[in-house]
């Protein structure tokens, strides 16, 4: 049984580690400014934890085999432990865990403690069972008021988020079912939800934020590559959660401007 255990534990260790190292399944290609840092921190954590994982599992498998009970086994070493060893590994673990954590906190601070820059593109994201809507404030830079009473999901877009079209600031608001953003510019998101909690998750941007009813949550990110990026709802929101997905289209500034202008024109 000792050998069987060793083989099984080592096998599990090698197979598990292989797929991480081979990156058979891995984070999708990063396409935002924070992706590089997050991926770097990921790799660092992965290497450190990977070493501990492999070392601990291999040691476990080896020890149970090496010290298995058999007639010719060496006598047991009577010992209640070794305080010096314990102090050493406690200190090392503490430094490792807390150090890692401090290193990772810079990007968190950059992204969340500071407000979006003044030139950022404003987009309001609204989640509802089971769709996403994206609103642009238009030339006036102001979102018009919305109200739950005016919401009519079946009518789509403006009506779905309950835009008060009578209000002057709402006249130029554009509401879309697909999110368009220009490449290389910061996006200043406002996240809202009209019924339950949803979560706006774009794996390629390494971006995720819950949209919570009753709150308007501000968050920002900067896409760096033109392309179509899928987003998926990441918070259980009801029976249609699995199909509450959407598309973020990152386009050139020019394409973005003409897209937005065309939507504005449709409204007139």
């Amino acid at each position: 049984m000792g050998l069987a255990l060793l083989v099984v534990i080592w096998l599990i260790t090698f197979v598990s580690t292989y797929f991480f190292i081979a990156k058979t399944w891995w984070l999708p290609h990063g396409a935002s400014t924070s992706a590089a840092f997050i991926d770097g921190q990921f790799t660092l954590t992965f290497i450190l934890m990977g070493i501990v994982f492999v070392a601990a599992q291999l040691a476990l498998g080896y020890l149970v085999w090496k010290f298995r009970d058999r007639p010719e086994a060496a006598p047991v070493e009577y010992s209640h432990g070794n305080t010096r060893l314990e102090v050493i590994w406690t200190t090392l673990t503490a430094i490792l865990f807390i150090g890692l954590n401090l290193m990772g906190s810079r990007v968190w601070a950059n992204e969340r403690f500071a407000p979006a820059s003044p030139g950022a593109v404003q987009v309001e994201v609204t989640g509802m069972q089971f769709a996403w809507y994206f609103r642009y404030p238009g030339p006036d830079g102001k979102y018009g008021p919305t109200s739950a009473k005016l919401m009519d999901a079946s009518a789509g877009s403006e009506a779905a988020i309950g835009l008060d079209t009578g209000d002057p600031s709402a006249k130029d608001d554009v509401v879309a079912g697909v999110m368009y953003v220009p490449v290389g510019r910061q996006v200043d998101l406002t996240l809202r939800a009209v019924d339950v909690i949803h979560s706006f998750f774009v794996p390629s941007f390494r971006f995720k934020q819950d949209a919570v009813p009753g709150l308007a949550i501000h968050m920002h990110f900067t896409p760096t590559e033109i392309g179509d990026y899928e987003m998926a709802c990441a918070e259980l929101c009801g029976l249609g959660h699995y199909k509450m997905h959407g598309m973020v289209k990152v386009v050139s500034q020019q394409d973005f401007d003409s897209w937005l202008a065309a939507r504005e024109a449709e409204k007139q």
Binding site: G81, G214, A234
Partner: protein
């Protein structure tokens, strides 16, 4: 405090009902808890089987069920999680084994409050019945997940199952909380007051330490969940607004239908509640709860690694301090479940540092387990196999923690399969391995017979390989962005690519689930046909092994044991045998 407990002359009660149903004997109650958990684990496992089938064959026709709809999937998910966390992981290791063995291991004739003990079991039983009833009411069981985030859980028109089914779910959990509070009080009092002469705190087996600290965690955590549950019930049925803000629109409805228990028939309009408040209350309970599930397993692993290595546990004191540190730190890390929730990003900072700190005592325990094996003489019997499996799983599940604990890395990982992999390995399967280890180890004492070794070994190997095959790939899926709680992966293009791996996991689950019947067969077959067990078949040192098998009604046959040694005196140089029982006279100078 360690005075000799007065020897109650406990006459064993007569009559089937008093002996086996409404018994006051902690041993019977322990077995009742164990079998309740056993029933629950098979229900929970069956639900997971249906889930795994639906995930990869969403249109499959299941005998008697037909096709599983998306909302049915979420119902299975919710009930699977809830039943497993509350009625299995909280029930078997703590209330089951704890009830049976804590009094014996400290040399007490029973729990401090036997009537309260009986009440807490039957209250738990009622909670389980109410939980199962949720399946059968109009609308069915709720779909809001075991975490029950508001407003989904607070608003009956937010989905199917959120009417009466959700109310029953909350009521069941509230009842469960009351039962757990009673149990916790009993455990704490028993440890503090009923220890035999010589059983100082620092001579208690690590299992007792684990049950003791777990009881303290339960006392502090379940009270909060109980309050939160009552508030949620009030939001749903009385129209209060603790968790539901105003201005919502549920697919066209501006008002909220009252819950299934409400005296009101008119709809409610909510104002000013906070969905985040529920998350704070829930996770203030929820994080300690994960340790409630695992600490007893850690205790069992420590006990078994020492016993079967024939070596004292490495660093007994460090182990005790680590359990305490985990207990204390466990109450200040709940925010790590909420990094993406809209909570202040500054507090995320604090929560993540505290979370990394809690990884340290967890790591200490692992090192000490390995240190215990070092230069031992390891007897690889089935209980030990599961204890070794526990260590392996604890390492694997624990090491994904430091990824999730860093807020920046949690951005891509939160609410993906990575988290599902993390907590299944460390909480789900590791704790289950603790239960298996405890079962194979204590079965002889409980039922007077040995379990079958060969069946046990096969069960172990399939279960270890199987659980890794199911839960390790979840980490890969999570990295690739596969979101959790999706009933199928047909809609999001990048996720459909991951279905082959999901299919592999479903096959692994089928095999692993099938292997659990080996355990069931072994359990029931050995109860009647197993080889007769001696009083101390594993040559262990703790008090339960110095009394008869099975123990008499008052545990020690009218005698009060006197303790002269620490719990893990194996291979003491100069001793006549390779173990010194805690009750052996104090001839050799040991700890």
């Amino acid at each position: 405090m360690a005075t000799t407990a007065p020897v109650h002359v406990h006459a064993a009660p007569q009559g089937f009902i008093r002996r086996y149903v409404f018994s006051l004997d902690h041993k019977v109650i322990g077995i009742q808890y164990y079998f309740l958990a056993l029933a629950a684990v098979f229900v929970g496992m069956f639900l997971s089987l249906l889930m795994r089938i639906h995930l990869v064959w969403p249109t499959a026709q299941i005998p008697l069920f037909g096709e599983i709809k998306p909302e049915t999937y979420l119902t299975l998910l919710t009930m699977h999680g809830t039943i497993m966390v509350f009625f299995v992981l909280t029930t078997a290791p703590q209330s089951g084994f704890g009830n049976y063995f804590l009094p014996i291991q400290i040399g007490a004739p029973d729990m401090a409050f036997p009537v309260l003990n009986m009440l807490s079991f039957w209250t738990t039983f009622v909670a389980f019945v109410v939980m199962i009833a949720a399946f059968f009411v109009a609308g069915g069981a709720p779909l809001h997940g075991w975490t029950g985030y508001a407003p989904l859980s607070a608003v009956p028109n937010s989905g199917p199952g959120e009417a009466l089914g959700a109310d029953l779910w909350i009521v069941s959990i509230a009842i469960f909380c009351i039962a757990s509070l009673m149990g916790a009080l009993n455990f704490i009092t028993t440890v503090l007051d009923l220890r035999a002469k010589g059983m100082t705190m620092m001579r208690m087996p690590l299992t007792v330490w684990a049950w003791f600290i777990t009881a303290i965690l339960g006392l502090l955590a379940f009270g909060v969940l109980l309050s939160a549950g009552i508030l949620l019930l009030m939001d749903r049925n009385l129209g209060t607004s603790f968790f539901v803000p105003g201005g919502l629109n549920f697919t066209g409805q501006l008002t909220v239908t009252p819950g299934g228990l409400s005296p009101s028939t008119t709809n409610f309009t909510h104002h000013g509640g906070s969905p985040l408040l529920w998350q704070h209350l829930f996770w203030f309970f929820g994080h300690p709860e994960v340790y409630i599930a695992i600490l007893p397993g850690m205790g069992v692993a420590s006990q078994l690694l020492s016993t079967f290595s024939r070596k004292p546990i490495f660093g007994y004191k460090a182990m005790v301090y680590a359990i305490m540190a985990i207990g204390i730190l466990g109450f200040v890390v709940w925010g790590h479940h909420m990094f993406m929730s809209g909570m202040s990003p500054y507090s995320a900072f604090a929560f993540s540092i505290m979370t990394m700190c809690i990884g340290v005592p967890s790591a200490i325990k692992t090192f000490n387990w390995l240190g215990t094996l070092w230069h031992g003489r390891i007897r690889l019997q089935t209980p030990m196999l599961f204890a070794i499996g526990f260590v392996s799983l604890f390492v694997s599940g624990g090491l994904s923690g430091p990824f999730l604990a860093q807020p920046v890395l949690d951005i891509p990982l939160h609410d993906t399969y990575f988290v599902v992999g993390h907590f299944h390995l460390i909480m789900g399967v590791a704790a289950i391995f603790g239960i298996f280890a405890g079962t194979y180890y204590w079965f002889p004492k409980m039922f007077g017979r040995m379990m079958n070794e060969r069946l046990g070994q096969i069960h172990f190997l399939i279960t270890l390989l199987g659980t890794y095959a199911i839960f390790m790939p979840m980490h890969y899926l999570g990295l690739a962005g596969q979101t959790r709680r999706y009933s199928q992966f047909t809609e999001v293009a990048y996720q459909t690519k991951l279905v082959p791996l999901q299919t592999f996991m479903t096959y692994a689950a089928l095999i692993t689930i099938a292997a659990q019947f080996l355990f069931l067969i072994n359990l029931f077959w050995s109860m009647r046909k197993g080889a007769k067990a001696s009083d101390n078949p594993w040559e262990s040192t703790t008090l339960e092994w110095s009394t008869a098998t099975p123990p008499p009604h008052d545990n020690f046959g009218g005698q009060t044991p006197v303790v002269s040694h620490g719990p893990y005196e194996y291979s003491v140089p100069g001793a006549p045998r390779d173990f010194i029982m805690q009750t052996d006279p104090a001839t050799t100078a040991t700890h």
